[in-house]
Amino acid sequence: MSAPSTKGRTVRRWLILTLFGVYFLVPMLASVEFSLRDVNDTHSLVSWKKLLDEPGLFETLTTSLWVAFGTVALTLILMVPTVSWVHLRRPKLRKLVEGISLLPLVIPPIVLVNGVLVVFRDVPEVISGTPVILVLEYVILALPFTYRALDAGLTAIALPTLVEAARSLGASWPAVLLRVVVPNIRSAVFGAAFLNLALVMGEYTLASILLMDTFPVWTVSTGQSEAGVSVAVSLLSLLVVFLLLFVLSMVTGRRHREVTAPIAPTPSRGHS
């Protein structure tokens, strides 16, 4: 193509990106300003200081982190063997597992929690009265992402060859899973784990209806009396999760390049 039109396209692209950038940044900057407000149109760090004294912050954060850890662990223990087994032994069942895994997209969380209240009404307090029930149900909410991430990861490697090689060298099945399969789909496992984490740290519907004191529930209830503190906490949590995801994308991005570079050089986009 001729130079002027390419240049015009570049200008237009950056104009669009800038507009979207402004749109997405305004609420973030507004949050910064809001969290710094003090009485009579002055600004100070008072909300951020109050944040540390606010009762419940560390307790609820700890609860949420434990729930997140439990969810990630249980999800991987359940799904890595299942998806590997299906890929290896019964490829025809992939559609079935995929179908079930995507079902939570059809069931709104507020509906699921309605049923959870009925089903687990009579189980021991240890399960229904503690965040254990959240772990068990968050595994379900995370299934769609988890399945897609693991399925994509396993499709991209030569699973049967790797497993046959390991088995013929005498590895047991657990060893195959832990020392051959998992390291090869490391970035898929990380991706699934991260999305689980983000989901748990932000989930409000189930936690609030089941009356659990998690971090998002605390944020909302604090916001009703101390708006400044809640805005500060929200901003902080968005930033932390964003940084985690950004670091993850740097790490997996580099890995991806290492693998693909020697096989197929990326076709140049700016063909003349």
């Binding site: 990106l17 507004a30 299942t82 997209l105 059809v106 299934l143 932000g202 409000y204 995801l245």
Partner: protein
Amino acid sequence: MTVNSITAEAGVADPAPAAVPARPLPKRVAAWVTGHIGLLPFLAYTGVFLGAPVFMVVLGAFQDNDGVFTTENITAAMSDQFGRSFVTSIELSALTAVLGAVFGAILAQAVLGTKPDGLVRKVVSSASGVLANFGGVPLAFAFIATLGSIGIVTKALTALGFDIYAGGFSLFAFTGIAIVYVYFQIPLMVIVFTPSLEGMRDQWREAAENLGATKWQYWRHIAGPVLLPPFMASLLLLFANSFSAYATAYALTTGVVPLVPIQIGSLVSGNVVADQQNLGKALGLGMIVVVAIVMSIYNWMQRRTSRWLG
């Protein structure tokens, strides 16, 4: 660990013959179980923690407080008050899905024009992941700081002579909720639509140009028809996403705007008369039906997509 070893045994015990001769029924059942044993933990787990709750909702929708069959809940769920909340929910979801899909597609296309390993791509993909999956509650507060009655944008507009709250706007009503929803719908669109845009081959454009097609003709006859199914599929996913959303609307309005998830939430939390125990389940069934219709259209669209963009 137990799951691992069960799976492992299945692998060893699996005879895997190519052609199985006809066998008596008990043996065939046993063969089915050994053949699917790696799937049993998964099926059991989803059965208990997903299947059972959904079943109880569907069952409860047709029962009164004493467990006797009735269609009263369903009738009530479609009555004036709740019927209107379905309409409001569907309107909100449709509006935010269309806006999110259009702007999200524009953003995704612009981002694809930047360097594949560049900073812009990484920032956009990370930010999309955060806002689409994590956003609910934090976003509600970010918007209170922005467009709430004492938010900075509201104050700036008032200083400029546009008092939006005097003009009837409220962050805590339909328009306000729609603005916040679009803020997480755009990132979701970027996530789900980018793979389709990446699947477009440069060769298709080159071939069209070589044959003398104008830019309009390329979009009208090639890119448009190829991208339309994935675009519609993404739009439907966005619809389902905002239709199910509860946290954002609740954190913003504490339940004032009559959306179906909010109504169910207040029925479950016991803010209602006791003889309506199962009304929430009937509303829930209604939501499942709406989302199921939308998602089956989505599936059908997806199958058409994979023909070209795999």
